[in-house]
């Protein structure tokens, strides 16, 4: 298995414009990691440095224990054994699908190459498409061929640069699942760059949230969602409800009631007061007559599979969002009670 180990990576364009600012990231061999961040956070630069198209100012990139780039070392892209799947696939328009896939198979005999191409096309569900030209394929098919092309030479690492961006949403889920299955089948280590939190959470084994050229948090999707390192990460990976609160033993007192505190990295030891972070689906609407916490419904957004209800809670400054599955029992202007389920995390007030 080939771990990807990135340490202290820095890259800037001109003075005072650091794009990567001491970025550390470790991806265990065989896993699929998503690098998630807003546009401008340095994800694309990170990818180009790892692939060898850019030289970092400082820091090292190592794959399976071998240093690819670092002080005084810069392996050119063609010697890194890193496959890339760019946005929109970028198939060679002058070559057939089969010759695209065979492009990286230089060391093999003709027959072995043909076999490998067939194998890879089968893996991505495109048996028999070898003779087609790229323009005869749909966007999703092009993306799959691009993956097959990257995987064919059995690279140590595959980099996927927002590969599903160009696909329409109906197609995206299917292609995403196929890509994940193909990566699993080959056991390749992969890094997926994206700005789509749903994509990152649903596809990856590990999600690294990048902010201002550094990894703000790197964790498994569930861990990241339930125990975000800070409110910014929390808000970036999903909707967040923030209220003031004070810790007391293993629980925290909030205007929405007493909530158990989650352990782990999201619970800074010794912190007594701060902001309490909850997810909208942790809040439930209850009968106002029997509730301790009450508020007035200010807005209802209905999405079909669920709805977001905004409630101005008595004694809380900002309105809170509550995700309600199925039919919505309240209307704007009505009174409702609120109950909290699950665990919360506590963060410093100043953050």
């Amino acid at each position: 298995m080939t771990d990807l180990q990135i340490t202290g990576l820095a890259k800037g364009y001109g003075p005072g414009a650091a794009v990567l600012d001491g970025l550390d990231l470790t991806v265990p061999g065989g896993s699929l990691a998503a690098v998630l961040g807003p546009s401008g956070c340095g994800k694309t630069t990170l990818l180009r440095v790892v692939a060898g198209f850019l030289r970092a100012d400082a820091g090292t990139v190592a794959l399976g224990g071998h240093t690819l780039g670092g002080p005084g070392v810069h392996l050119p892209p063609e010697r890194r054994r890193i496959g890339i799947v760019p946005q929109e696939g970028a198939l060679f328009p002058h070559l057939s699908v089969a010759r695209n896939v065979a492009f990286g198979l230089t060391g093999l005999h003709r027959s072995a190459r043909g076999r490998r191409v067939g194998e890879m096309l089968g893996l991505v569900g495109l048996d028999g498409y070898g003779r087609r030209m790229p323009h005869e394929l749909s966007g999703g098919q092009q993306q799959r061929v691009a993956l097959a092309r990257a995987l064919a030479p059995e690279p140590d690492l595959v980099l996927l640069d927002e590969p599903f961006n160009a696909l329409d949403s109906a197609l995206r889920a299917g292609v995403r699942a196929d890509v994940r299955a193909a990566l699993r089948a080959t056991g390749a280590t992969a890094v997926l760059v994206t700005h789509d939190q749903q994509e990152a959470l649903s596809t990856a084994d590990l999600v690294a949230v990048v902010r201002d050229g550094r990894v703000a948090q790197c964790a498994a999707p569930q861990e990241l969602y339930q125990r975000p390192a800070d409110p910014w990460v929390a808000a970036f990976v999903g909707d967040a409800v923030l209220v003031g609160g004070a810790a007391e033993g293993g629980t925290v007192n909030t205007p929405l009631g007493r909530v158990p505190l989650a352990g782990g990295p999201g619970a800074p030891g010794g912190l007594r007061e701060g902001r309490v972070l909850l997810r909208p689906e942790q809040l439930r609407l209850t009968d106002p007559a029997a509730a301790h916490v009450r508020g007035t419904v200010t807005d209802v957004h209905f999405y079909g599979h669920d709805a977001m209800v905004t409630v101005a809670v008595d004694g809380v400054e900002d309105p809170v969002g509550i995700r309600v599955p199925g039919p919505v029992p309240v209307r704007p202007g009505g009174r409702t009670g609120i109950r909290v389920t699950g665990e919360a995390t506590l963060h410093p007030a100043a953050c």
């Binding site: 794009v19 401008g40 956070c41 340095g42 630069t45 892209p77 760019p86 060679f92 230089t106 092309r149």
Partner: protein, 528 residues
């Protein structure tokens, strides 16, 4: 202008650059060494004439060069050249702007046909136009004839950019002006015309450049300008320093014009930026002006295209068998095709590394190389030829008046054509494909061979065809550098017309137009 996420994706628009397709320059990766070396060779060849001209002009000391430059005759040549340029530019502006307005904005009957017809004069070499006018109306000889012939072949240089600018103006502006109480004429003068100025100025400067470097038409019309002065001075004496000094003056003038033209193009690009998606303007009904408008278009097209073809047909028809020498004609045609093919091959080969570097890399070296390759754009053919003559006589005697030297002159003169085509073609190929190829284990040179060049091939081939056509039509450098006894269609046409044997000249003109038309037609089909 760069976001941290995509630091190298965008690039400031370069003055004179075509609208950029999706492509980006690489900051980090140096061009592979063999590519850089060939590109440097091309760049050196391109600036060699310029450098040698300076050396040669100053060889006998600045005082001698100054004597030649300050000579009364030089001053009069300068005035004659500039005067001709001024008149031709003015006439071209009138023709170009009026035809552009008629074909873009009015309900002129047959507007599509007209807009194609008025660009055709671009295909007529100036000396062919001069030949047809001279043979039909010998009294035109001199300034009038030169101005007429030059105007009729060069007004499309104004027409094309002005028509493009007119199409780009949002018609809503004119509607606003009309709603504010201005009539159609005032609206055109106050709203439309000012916006056409950059395009018209750019086109006008191109025309001026064309007139200053033209040799064929002015020499046939026996109107003395700088180029003709240089030629006479070179032929007249063994002392070639005066010719070199005159060439240097001409180069300075053309370089100034090219710089000015690049500046207006840069500004025109800015003024167009930020326009929304303008809907097409409703064509203006011409009413009673319909017939005069048609007559105007008809007259221009007849004079610029119909007349030369008619005269050519006439001379071909009356030419007796005595004036027809089919063997000589086919020999000359073959020679022409041969040297033009060699010129196009060398030019394309030299342009390829420069074009790739210009499209894919940045930094001082890349920039310098590109600028060097564009030197030929500012150099009149006659000065390039002279510089190569001087150089060969001094340092490469065996090459003097041998075909390789002529082919080199073509390469210097037309490198800009081929480099521009190559650069545009490489920019069309997404750089991400090269990244993918690198990540699949290809070295930079193999990526060039297996990905970049195949993808850019159609554009590069189109550039080669274009270079082939311009090589075939080249006159002054061919006159000076051709081996003794070798003729191309252009030089035969020039000699016969100069001797007044119009019927003998006609077959060469016809062959030239036919041979140039085939590749031009193929190019047109390739582009659509």
């Amino acid at each position: 202008m760069t976001t941290p996420d995509s630091p190298v994706r965008k690039r400031a628009p370069r003055p004179g650059a075509a609208p950029l397709p999706a492509g980006r320059r690489r900051a980090a990766i140096r061009p592979p060494r063999p590519l850089l070396l060939t590109a440097c060779l091309a760049g050196a060849l391109a600036v060699l004439p310029l450098g040698y001209l300076a050396v040669r002009a100053l060889e006998r000391g600045p005082a001698f060069a100054w004597d030649v430059i300050a000579d009364e005759r030089t001053g009069s040549l300068l005035l004659r050249s500039l005067g001709l340029a001024a008149v031709v530019v003015a006439a071209c502006l009138v023709l170009g702007v009026s035809l552009a307005w008629l074909t873009v904005r009015t309900a002129l009957p047959g507007v599509r046909v007209w807009s194609v017809l008025v660009t055709l004069p671009l295909a007529v070499p100036s000396y062919v136009a001069a030949f047809t006018w001279l043979s039909a109306a010998p009294w035109l000889v001199g300034f009038t004839g030169a101005a007429l012939a030059m105007t009729l072949v060069s007004f499309p240089y104004v027409y094309l950019p002005v028509a493009a600018a007119l199409r780009g103006i949002d018609p809503a502006q004119e509607e606003v002006s009309r709603s504010l109480g201005h009539g159609a004429v005032r609206t055109f003068a106050r709203v439309v015309l000012p916006q056409l100025r950059p395009a018209a100025a750019g086109g006008g400067l191109l025309v001026a450049l064309y007139v200053l470097s033209d040799f064929g038409a002015v020499s046939l019309m026996r109107y003395d300008t700088f180029t003709r002065g240089i030629y006479t001075s070179y032929r007249a004496s063994f002392d070639r320093t005066p010719a070199a000094a005159l060439s240097a003056v001409l180069v300075v003038m053309t370089v100034a014009l090219v710089a000015a033209e690049a500046r207006t193009r840069g500004r025109a690009g800015h003024s167009r930026a930020g326009r929304g998606t303008a809907r097409p303007a409703a064509p203006l009904a011409l009413g009673r002006l319909r017939l005069p408008a048609l007559a105007w278009c008809g007259t221009v097209v007849t004079a610029a295209v119909g007349f030369p073809l008619g005269v050519l047909g006439y001379w071909l028809a009356v030419g007796s068998s005595a004036t027809w020498e089919p063997a000589l004609l086919s020999d000359t045609a073959l020679t022409t095709l041969g040297v033009a093919a060699a010129g196009a091959a060398l030019t394309t080969a030299l342009a390829l590394p420069v074009g790739v570097i210009a499209a894919r890399h940045r930094g001082r070296t890349a920039h310098l190389l590109e600028q060097a390759a564009y030197a030929g754009h500012a150099l009149p053919g006659i000065t390039v030829a002279l510089a190569l003559v001087f150089f060969a006589v001094r340092y490469a005697r065996p090459l003097y008046q041998e075909p390789p030297l002529l082919v080199c002159a073509y390469a210097v003169l037309f490198l800009p054509v081929a480099v521009a085509a190559t650069r545009a073609a490489v920019l069309q190929a997404p750089p991400v494909l090269e990244d993918v190829a690198r990540s699949l284990g290809r070295s930079p040179l193999r990526v060039l061979r297996e990905v970049t060049v195949p993808l850019a091939a159609p554009g590069v081939a189109a550039g080669a065809v274009l270079t082939f056509v311009v090589c075939m039509k080249e006159l002054p450098a061919t006159l000076l550098l051709r081996p003794t006894g070798m003729d191309t269609l252009a030089t035969r046409l020039w000699t016969e017309t100069g001797a007044g044997s119009f019927a003998a000249a006609a077959p060469y003109a016809a062959a030239l137009i036919l041979l140039a038309a085939v590749p031009s037609y193929l190019l047109g089909r390739h582009r659509t």
